[in-house]
Symmetry: C2
Subunit: 117 residues, 2 copies
Amino acid sequence: MNALGKHLLLELKDCNKEVLNDVAFLKGTLLTAASECGATVLGESFHQFNPQGISGVVVIAESHLCIHTWPEYGYVAADIFTCGDSVQPEKAAQILIRKLGAKNHSIVEIQRGILDT
Amino acid sequence: MNALGKHLLLELKDCNKEVLNDVAFLKGTLLTAASECGATVLGESFHQFNPQGISGVVVIAESHLCIHTWPEYGYVAADIFTCGDSVQPEKAAQILIRKLGAKNHSIVEIQRGILDT
């Protein structure tokens, strides 16, 4: 089975609520996760919602990382989509789990772009 | 089952290869899909790779849409992640399928943020 991309879907629960509404912290965390896993950052877009919650995306040369936070529930949905063999998305996942203080998490891995050729 | 978000993962195959390397077309298509499904666009980030391929993300008030294209294979990976009841992600999916000329497609729907509360 030859897939073009690997997509990790992270469900992060019981996170440290204090950081889930801190856009500077989350941007730094996502950029750190990207660089530490070997990705090349190309761009980013983050938005803080009122009264709470943050959405952020980092576009990398190998696809993207994104995050959506619900501080009121201590919940974060994060995605790490990478292609190529030069990056280690699992490393980025562990950084997010640790930095966000997720006491419970699950990771679903989905192969993207399974072609017939 | 009460989920915070709905995440559609689109595998689009046998697409119109001519549009998969056209960043203006893809940006317009993703922004159209976002607005037509009722979403509020907050930001975007698109990148064209050399010699081919485009990655793009549109951050919406209801989460995000993103796209990664492989013109050489006629393949596109697209994600539509929405929360709330005011948007119709399926409508955005149909717009992407039609505009990209995907002759074969599959859509996997994943519930995100299923909390115990």
